[in-house]
């Protein structure tokens, strides 16, 4: 609860328009992250139904806390990136609105994993997404930015509407919105309402699949990422995904375990398609095209979303779905740290190289050796090869979830995808160490950007030394 309280307080703080606004937000997010600590001991619930125990709207169990930590930590890093971005934009981005939107979106994303009824879930989803549309389109007078926002907005609203329809179907057939109650009652639905319930499930999933950018709801990603300010793209790639897969987990594993036979295979196919389309898309990016760096990260994030879906699909088959969910969470934590790190480097390079092409990273090692080494580390973590040990083991947990659930074909598809992904990640990595073309530009890193880089680097390296820190979620129950 403290987390929520702090977040709500946060929303009012930015009302005071000052240049120091950014730092206030950073401090707020850091405080919110820290306030998760006292909640670590176990589960707390609130907004419960009177008379019935265990039926609540808000539950801060381990699962919720871990995802909240991910969301708030990710938002914190985004905020650090944004401080510089806003300064560089020199008024092109309205500061007050920016912080307000970022924080409210983060609040929604933090609320979502703790939500335990469908209404709260949808509200949280909307609170997280609506500010994101505005964030994407915030750049005044930039056509690309507003185009991106419109594309993002229209497709997202459709998805939300569809999932609202799904929720109403589920409500109609079960008569409750509480996830745990749905899990019980959905098994006793009348024959007539069975179809309605099933349709409802599928439609609800669509909304969250959109957020995770799963195929076929991925087409907005590349253009949106390119059009959005870079920190916002980073935010979407990590927190947007976290929101999506959390919702998926809640709806599938918590609310509808009895329908595992339906959503398990569906998610498995979705995962296979998503990673293949994402990786092939990333592979086809031309390094010399404008904004190809962000575009490549965007496509690769679609691919990574596919990996995130694998354990959720496996949960539909496994005897112990909690372990599979843990794999997703562990993978998401790894992905959040290293992907934000990669975006931090992209932000750094983007400051001097306006067009942010992959070829602009050529010879980065010659001018900024440490940054180049970190970027190489982040990319190899994403690829899952040593020295990115944590990336490797996160992939291993995902693989083992799939193998454990007997999803051999999915594991093989993923194996092929890992190889495809390696190609473009390594190509980029190799470019970092090539001889620079033309006059090398030394990228000067301002303090907030350095802080964000250092934070992600420390996280990534610490996790590589002690993968247990995140991987323990893959062995223990989170609910």
């Amino acid at each position: 609860m403290v987390a929520l309280a702090v977040l709500v307080a946060d929303l009012f703080v930015p009302a005071a328009r000052k240049p120091a606004l950014g730092w206030v937000s950073v401090a707020g997010l850091a405080a919110a992250t820290l306030s998760l600590l006292p909640l670590l001991d176990g589960r707390r619930t609130t907004f419960c139904l009177t008379g019935q125990t265990g039926v609540c709207s808000y539950t801060a169990d381990h699962f919720a806390l871990v995802i909240q930590f991910l969301v708030l930590g990710g938002a914190l890093l985004t905020a650090l990136l944004s401080v510089t971005a806003l300064k560089d934009a020199r008024g092109a981005l309205p500061e007050g609105e920016f912080w307000f939107l970022l924080l409210s979106s983060a609040a929604g994303a933090a609320l979502l994993p703790a939500a335990r009824d469908l209404a709260t879930l949808i509200v949280a989803l909307e609170v997280a997404s609506l500010p994101a549309f505005a964030l994407v389109g915030l750049r005044h007078g930039d056509r690309k930015s507003s185009d991106a926002a419109l594309k993002f907005f229209l497709s997202s609203v459709t998805a939300t509407a569809v999932s609202l329809l799904g929720v109403s179907f589920v409500y109609a057939s079960t008569g409750t919105l509480y996830l745990t109650q749905i899990a019980d009652r959905v098994q006793h639905v009348d024959g007539q309402l069975h179809t309605v319930a099933q349709t409802g499930v599928v439609l609800t999933l669509v909304g969250f699949a959109f957020k995770t950018a799963a195929v076929p709801f991925h087409f907005w990603v590349p253009d949106t990422y390119v059009g959005a300010p870079l920190p916002v793209a980073a935010y979407l790639s990590v927190i947007g995904k976290a929101v999506g897969f959390t919702g998926l987990i809640l709806v599938t594993v918590v609310a509808l375990p009895s329908y595992a036979g339906a959503w398990g295979p569906a998610l498995a196919v979705l995962a296979a398609l998503t990673m293949t389309v994402g990786n092939v898309g990333a592979l086809r990016q031309q390094a010399t095209r404008a904004y190809s760096a962000v575009r490549l990260l965007a496509w690769s994030s679609v691919g990574q979303a596919g990996y995130l879906l694998v354990p959720i699909a496996a949960a539909g088959y496994a005897k112990n779905p909690q372990k599979s969910i843990g794999s997703t969470v562990a993978y998401a934590l790894m992905y959040a740290a290293v992907n934000l790190g990669a975006f931090a480097v992209a932000a750094l390079v983007g400051r001097t190289r306006e067009r942010n092409r992959v070829t602009d990273y050529r010879g980065l090692y010659a001018t900024n050796p440490l940054t180049a080494l970190l970027m190489a580390f982040f990319l190899l973590c994403l690829a899952g090869l040593p020295p990115g040990v944590i990336g490797l083991f996160a992939k291993v947990t995902v693989f083992s979830a799939a193998v454990d659930a007997g999803l051999g074909w999915l594991a093989v598809v993923m194996a092929v995808n890992v190889v495809i992904a390696l190609f473009y990640y390594l190509q980029w990595t190799a470019l970092l160490f090539r001889a620079p073309e033309g006059e090398p530009v030394r990228h000067r890193a301002p303090a907030p950007l350095t802080a964000a880089l250092a934070l992600t680097a420390v996280l990534g390296i610490a996790l590589s030394g002690a993968p247990q820190l995140v991987l323990r979620f893959a062995s223990t129950g989170l609910f």
Binding site: F393, V396, S400, G408, V412, A415, A430, A435, L471, S475
Partner: protein, 542 residues
């Protein structure tokens, strides 16, 4: 044998793995300040001129650092070998067992027995020699700082592969070598290096992710990733289906690395394009990771599954022997524009065929032969790649036709010692009795004369016959190479080539000496491997 306390042994083994890693990190640290040589100007300068022995430039310093670290690792490996209890070669010694990632049941479990000890020493030796060689002859390409760091990272990964006793750690170590090798080939290699490096890494990665699936399957079904526990269990807790699938998946991964025909096609390109040091390590050490995996993982852990595939493995192995030899013969012929490095790479395919044939027999004789051939191939092929690299430095080409022109390169006349060494390497490679190459191939063939129970004897007799024919072909192309490169009339006007330098002697002598030693006294090696192999094949306690 010296009596060394267990804790010191543990430390030594851990140092073997961690030492190069720390050394790699240290190599990347900025060297002593030298204001006139900022990275941006010096890093990408033209190939460095060979500076003298006393070079004080940062480049020399970092290369010296590489020699120091690999030297320390070699000393540690030798002390470890000295302290190894030879009377109990089948027992895991110097074991460390610490929990690392309880969530995945991954433990840092290190240990060494008669199978892994020779490979550890070989790796440490070859890497040291490579570092020494590069100190005097810096690789042509970008600054040596990254070169040394990658070399050390490579060494760490290889040593870890041979030292770990946990399936997932094995996978981690197996993967660790990919990135350094990729960069070594792609940045310091010769013609066509980019394509070759890509081919190498994509092939091996595809193989190893498939292998990961197999490893996970075993781990999940058996409930542990510990190789010792799994080997003791000897596949009893795995059903036949699981074993078959796991062996297929893991086998593909290892076969790409070994490489087994028809998965070998990355190898000739990678060897040809790699710098001398890269080829030496690739052939001398990294190919062994594949065969070691066969012996360490597949044979004891999934014997039933392996038995199913053993005849196929043997068939592919003998096809590889014949294919490798025929490819070499074609390359060695006049007018074929054969590249010497490519030729040696193909000969590796043939030699690894013998190793795989030995393993496929599932008999102690065959597996011992395979392990022996492993070491012998590491020594001999390492030496050959060094020699060809030296030849390239002197003549500027490795193209056989360009070298031999019409009458032969006449190396005997122009650089007698170099020619002599090359002839020695070739003869050792063709399996002359009395040299290291002989015993491994003979034992592998001998093993297939009487394969393990449950394997079809007629089939293996056929394989043996074909394999024996392969040795003839090997002899044929090696002798052709010697004739074309070493012999011939010395034209009056050609300048004499520089003969073997002092540092080259230093780098090559150990290899020559060990080749002769292993040839004359095979028991030194077989005495180590045999008890361990018997144990592995029989399962049982350790």
């Amino acid at each position: 044998m010296i009596d060394i306390s267990e804790s010191v042994m543990q430390f030594l083994l851990a140092f073997l793995v961690v030492g190069p890693l720390l050394g790699a990190a240290a190599a990347l640290l900025p060297s002593r300040p030298s204001p006139d040589r900022r990275p941006s100007t010096s890093r990408f300068a033209a190939p460095l001129p060979v500076t003298g022995l006393k070079g004080k430039s940062p480049e020399q310093a970092v290369l010296r650092h590489g020699v120091t670290v690999t030297g320390a690792v070699l000393v540690a490996a030798i002390v470890l070998a000295a302290g190894f209890d030879h009377a109990q070669a089948s027992k895991m010694q110097a074991t460390t067992d610490i929990s690392w990632i309880p969530a995945l049941h991954v433990r840092i479990h290190l240990g060494v027995d008669g199978i892994s000890l020779p490979l550890l020493v070989l790796t440490a030796l070859l890497t040291f020699l490579c570092a020494l060689y590069s100190y005097f002859k810096p690789p042509a390409g970008p600054a040596p700082k990254a070169f040394v760091a990658l070399l050390l990272l490579l060494e760490s990964g290889t040593l870890a592969t041979f030292a770990v006793l946990d399936l997932l750690l094995f996978f981690l170590a197996f993967e660790t070598v990919l990135i350094p090798m990729y960069f070594l080939v792609a940045r310091w290699g010769g013609e066509g290096r980019q394509a070759a490096a890509w081919r190498f890494i994509l092939y091996t990665l595809l193989g190893s992710v498939v292998m990961l699936l197999g490893l996970l399957l075993i781990g999940i079904k058996a409930g542990t990733f510990d190789m010792v526990a799994l080997a003791t269990d000897n596949g009893r807790s795995l059903t036949a289906t699981v074993q078959v699938i796991a062996v297929l998946a893991i086998g593909i991964g290892l076969a790409v690395k070994t490489p087994m025909w028809p998965l070998h096609s990355w190898l000739p390109d990678a060897h040809t394009a790699a710098p001398t040091v890269g080829s030496v390590l690739l052939a001398g050490v990294m190919l062994k990771m594949g065969t070691y995996g066969f012996v360490r993982i597949l044979l004891p852990i999934a014997p039933d599954g392996f038995r199913t595939f053993a005849p196929y493995l043997a068939a592919f192995a003998v096809v590889g022997i014949i294919y490798g030899s025929l490819a070499c013969l074609a390359l060695a012929g006049r007018g074929a524009k054969g590249d010497l490095k490519r030729l040696i790479a193909y000969s590796s395919v043939g030699h690894m065929g013998f190793v795989l044939l030995g393993i496929a027999t599932m008999t102690p004789t065959g597996v011992n032969g395979a392990l022996f051939a492993n070491i012998a191939h590491g020594l001999i092929t390492g030496l050959l790649f060094f020699l060809v690299g030296a030849l390239k430095d002197r003549t500027g080409t490795t193209d056989l036709d360009a070298l031999a022109e019409k009458s032969g390169a006449a190396l005997y006349g122009r650089a007698p010692r170099l020619g002599g060494l090359l002839a020695f390497g070739a003869v050792a490679s063709l399996g002359l009795p009395g040299l290291a190459g002989f015993w491994g191939e003979m034992l592998a063939l001998f093993g297939s004369f009487e394969p393990a129970a449950g394997l079809s004897r007629p089939a293996f007799l056929t394989f043996m016959a074909i394999g024996a024919f392969g040795t003839l072909l090997t002899a044929a192309y090696m002798l052709v190479v010697v004739r074309r490169v070493c012999m011939g009339a010395v034209p009056q006007q050609t300048p004499r080539l520089a003969d073997v330098h002092g540092y080259e002697f230093a780098a090559w002598t150990p290899l020559v000496a060990l080749t002769v030693l292993a040839g004359l006294w095979p028991k030194a090696l077989l005495g180590l491997t045999d008890p361990a192999v018997q144990q592995l094949l029989a399962g049982g306690n350790r």
